[in-house]
Symmetry: D2
Subunit: 414 residues, 4 copies
């Protein structure tokens, strides 16, 4: 295991555990790629692929070994695993990642908690269930067009706890999920707060619509989840700051959750790049084409973008990992979190631009055959454009303000 990376080949895991997971995924890659084509055509959730990943333990990656998991701690390797999945099927990569990112966060919470508190943590129980392959968790947070600090989903205080109402969207992996991790507005007697809850799919009032019909990532199961009067006990709601505020202490968590997501787009680009290069190796005119200046420049420009994406992502992942892996959530100074988030947003834009451009270049290298329905580059061309909407910064138009202002006037309300 080494901690360096090559600009000219795919990212490699830096831990033994990461290596084992990658080996498992390499075994499944052919099956996943076949399913990708089918699910893209039908628009159905990649149910069989997720089932295989569950069986193979990939979804238990972050659960402790004792519980049946892999004990994956490295965010870097979480990204490498995600990029390998995306090379085969970006839909499955994003679906799996949503569950894995939460798992990883729970594992860090448990790992960094004082020893005497660990056993009592809800996260400890969740990880055990994940390790037993009994739990798949879906991040049911997004409400399109709504600022994450002002969500419309509510938890109203009742005699026996909370009553949840709301409509979540872009809930990837929801058709297979057993649980929903949700952010909402807690309406307490003392005023409104932000909070998070874990909701079981079995709870009365939970409806999974399985209605995702996207331009791309069609197998990701990113449809709506509706909560209609779902009842939870009092202890189920974890407060997450005052209503309408942004917690600067939360940046490290956002960076830790977002950076590995970028590996989805890197993986997509790698798949496109490899198809394009392979297309030059055979066929009637491939030798002539490969020798033409017009194709050479397309290939060389692909290489430059791959290098920039790999180098930038490698660097930011290792940096975030070094700061975050052994730090309890929200324990880092706000300015460290902000700096990590700035790196994450910058890396996100570099990867996003590189990935969309590589896919476009790859289609041109491949030529007209890639413009036929069913060619994998046609799917990839749609999948990769999710990068504009599933981004480190939740409101797409804010990334520029964030990067442009190195010293914002932002109250730390943690």
């Amino acid at each position: 295991m080494t901690s360096t990376a090559s600009l000219t080949s795919r990212l490699e895991p830096v831990t033994d555990v990461g290596g084992k997971l990658c080996a498992v995924i390499d075994e499944l890659a052919g099956f996943l790629a076949e399913q990708a084509a089918i699910n893209d055509r039908t628009g159905q959730f990649a149910r069989d692929s997720v089932a295989r990943l569950t069986e193979a333990g990939v979804l238990a990656a972050c659960a402790p070994v004792a519980d049946g998991g892999f004990g994956l701690e490295s965010l870097y390797d979480l990204a490498v695993v995600t990029s390998r999945l995306a090379q085969a099927d970006a839909s499955v990569a994003i679906a799996a990642y949503m569950h894995l990112a939460l798992s990883s966060y729970y594992a860090r919470t448990v790992r960094c908690a004082p020893a005497e508190q660990r056993a009592g943590l809800a996260q400890r129980q969740w990880l055990a269930a994940i390790g037993r392959r009994e739990m798949i968790v879906c991040s049911a947070v997004a409400e399109p067009g709504v600022d994450p600090s002002r969500l419309n989903t509510t938890a109203r205080q009742s005699d026996v706890g909370w009553v949840i109402n709301g409509r979540k969207a872009l809930a990837s992996i929801s058709p297979a999920a057993t649980h929903f991790y949700t952010r909402l507005k807690g309406e307490t007697d003392a005023g409104a707060i932000q909070g998070t809850v874990m909701i079981s799919r079995d709870a009365p009032g939970v409806e999974v619509r399985d209605n995702w019909d996207g331009l791309g990532l069609r197998g990701s199961g990113s449809g709506e989840v509706i909560f209609s009067g779902v009842a939870l006990p009092s202890a189920a709601l974890s407060p997450r700051g005052g209503w309408g505020t942004r917690n600067a202490r939360g940046y490290e968590g956002r960076a830790a959750t977002s950076a590995p997501l970028l590996a989805v787009y890197l993986g997509i680009a790698e798949a496109a790049h490899d198809m394009a290069v392979a297309s030059l190796a055979g066929g009637p005119n491939s030798r002539t084409r490969a020798a033409s200046a017009g194709v050479k420049v397309l290939v060389a420009e692909m290489e430059l973008r791959m290098a920039a994406a790999r180098g930038t992502l490698h660097t930011v992942l290792a940096d975030i990992d070094a700061h975050v892996s052994d730090a309890a959530p929200r324990s880092l100074p706000a300015e460290v979190g902000r700096s990590l988030m700035a790196g994450c947003v910058a890396a996100g834009m570099v990867v996003e631009r590189a990935a969309t451009e590589v896919v476009d270049l790859a289609m041109q290298v491949c030529g007209g055959r890639s413009y036929v329905a069913g060619h994998p580059l046609g799917r990839i061309c749609r999948d990769v454009r999710a990068c504009w909407f599933m981004r480190p910064h939740p409101l797409a138009e804010e990334w520029l303000d964030f990067l442009a202002d190195p010293h914002p006037q932002e109250p730390d309300v943690s």
Copy 2:
């Protein structure tokens, strides 16, 4: 009628005839746009749209008024007409354009021929049939990956004429075509030559596969056409230079045929641009979004690309029109043709880059709602990428060599 153009609004016709055709298309735009969504989903040829265009006389645009046409002579206005069609449905625009470009070429041939020869020209008969709405001609030339000077379709000399065998692809509008204009290898006793023939759909041995299943332009009917032992009389083949040579005199014709095609991509970009700007005019967060630096820069960059595309296309179209409209095909000096073609190739790359970028920017301006199947930008995002494969220069990788070498060593074999 003016001959100037604004960088900030769509191109306007420069002749009265062009104005009339645009008015007809504006009437049909709503119907075409509805059909566009349907045909994109089903992957079926835009049969009803083409029927409407036929009825309304749009496909008779280049036929003489006396024959029931509009008498359109301006290549500039042919492009404007095409851009208007593309704003409603790029599939229909490309399908119609293939027929119109040939019509326009026939009209120029007749117009510029000595008066005494005109009546005897085959082109004269074709235009009359087009004017009567009895003829739709499909350009059945392309053989993917094959150099246009070395096509595999053959005309073998027989006792009574020619026997045609071959397989053509990317034959847009073929499901509605009554005739196929084809380039092929004429195998004569004196050796091989290049040639063109017009083949009736009714001829024994013609098969229209209607099997286009593209990533985009799904309603364009760009499938295969097969010729199996199709018999033609001796006079049916027009020679077009020695086998394997490129006729430098042919550049003006190529430029004249290719430049207006670029209006398809301009029209696509205009549609995307307008949807994006409209999306900022309403909705819950539109005011906040429109005021953010992140969205402003997307809009401003769209405007710059629209300006570059419009200005470049306007200029090259007017230039080509001025040189070509009143010149018989292949009558211009080779160096003039090469210069026109260089302008056309450069304009093609400028428009192609602008159009793909505008569509990508438009999706980001619109936000996540544009990433849902059925949103018109999702279709446009796929349609616009045809620009890489349906280009002024037939072999995609040659544009760079062409532009890079201002004084090539190219024999003029005309």
Copy 3:
């Protein structure tokens, strides 16, 4: 004379007068280019070049023929003239343009005035003096970092007229100017207004510093002009709207004055492009270099940028010319002016990006020899970067807001 343009060669004049002026400049081009090198090295104003242009009547271009001028009316040809100057020496082009743009504005004012008023117009007298080669006018407007509607230069009302105090910068051609056209704050009894005045260099209190020491355009004489208690009669001040307001009616005038300025950057790019292409025609390795994919792509990308710049500028100039040439200043509807200005700003950005990129590409095509002091591309590389600071929109950071907002809330205060 034709009104079309080729994307692959330099812009040509559309009027006979323009043609004559271009012929005059072509004669002088060798001398101007020699002087360009000298003035760049020493940082001195291009005094001899401006003297030659004066003698040859180029600076009298817009004066009536009866007064000794050329009677140039076309803004398009004003731009072509400017681009030809810039091909030889961008410093002289910008210096001459500042005088010519004002001359052109005066000529339009006279031309469009009711016949009975013409003789009495101050502009009529100025043009006559310009025609006699007795007047060179300098635009002494800019105050760096100051919003043009809130300038610091003042005209205080006195018993006998006005007393002017202020410091102007970027006053190109000032070392040779006989007069200074100035914008300022008029402090009247009724409150502050914006106004313009014409100040003779001979007036007591005028100081021309001749202290321009720019990174580029070193021969342009763009230094400071100081007004210290300069006395003017009451009628000398022309009111230009209320203090701090922006006059939407002024957009057409701004567009008319700014668009031809862009030809400076086009001319620079053309000079760089031509040097680069010429460098491939000789020398020990030129054949090998020209055939390499690495150099081909540089050349092809130059061609694309030249095409975009030429097409966009050609289009916007013809459009502005068509609207403005025969319209009295401030007589067009505000929305027309805004649309023309939007085209001008968009064209400015397209030309600016193209020009800086072409120069950078040209240096790479030329190779290391262009990185030696004294090579003309070294000068051009610095000259072209003036585009960021001498722009259609006076405050550099505003172009984006202007383009991004198609329907601003802007009071028309004309």
Copy 4:
């Protein structure tokens, strides 16, 4: 010491030795920056700056501690040192780097040689002299426009050894050099070979012209060195492969020597970025400007390019370091060397594009004040363009072929 890097701050050393060197340079930075302005204006070699670096031991960085050096082994830290120098003065950075890169190569040669051979190596003696501050070595290799495998400088075999004749250019630091490391054509009885020699400045026939007059890097002393009948003993020439061949085994050495050079351009970009951001912190309009969308986008785009350049350079340097540091020169498999070189070339293009763009953006952020002679961005704008001519791949036009062809037909002639 950590081996990770932040995308949002400058690269940090990964070894203690690197940290000490950076501390030394930070002390000298003010002096170097002052001298940079002076030398740029006068065009003189940065003699005083190089003298200070010599005194402070920076030029002895790679010599063993026992000899008076720092014992620097890490190529990564060699790059960090170089970037810090470039932040103060790019001319000095490139001058020092040429000496340091050779020193580093000698140190690796000694370090990786079998213990019993080390004492006898010439490189051992050179390092000792460098450690005593008695030797500064100049890379006198380049002959402009000449393929490095076919240089014109010759070593003719004589009775007592070799006689050297030739003219070298771009010999940075030559005015201060005591020795010249040279590549040439050895003309032996058995035919021509490639070879390297070390030539003392004191040798009869050596002439240092000190005639560099570049557009940028004006203090780097990159002039010509002439060898006229310089006599060397027989053992002085080290053979480096057959005449006209390229040694694929040499790629690792080229990568090791080239990658840290890229830190010059990163350092330049960092200086420009920091000046631009600082310019927004004060001055009359800075608050308004910083809040405008037009300036925000400039700043954000700078950040993205800095992130891409840092991430890519960090990654490639760590990768090369890991492979090369403990490997004797030319001992790695050719394919490893080629892969490292491919990463180096890709990183070079990413850094080169990022650096030139950041400098251009920085000038726009700073506004018109940066367009005045003497403003440091004016110097930086010229310095950074050296990246096109002082590149990892010696023939500028070959980078594209190199990257485009992953599996070339290249004989390994080592």
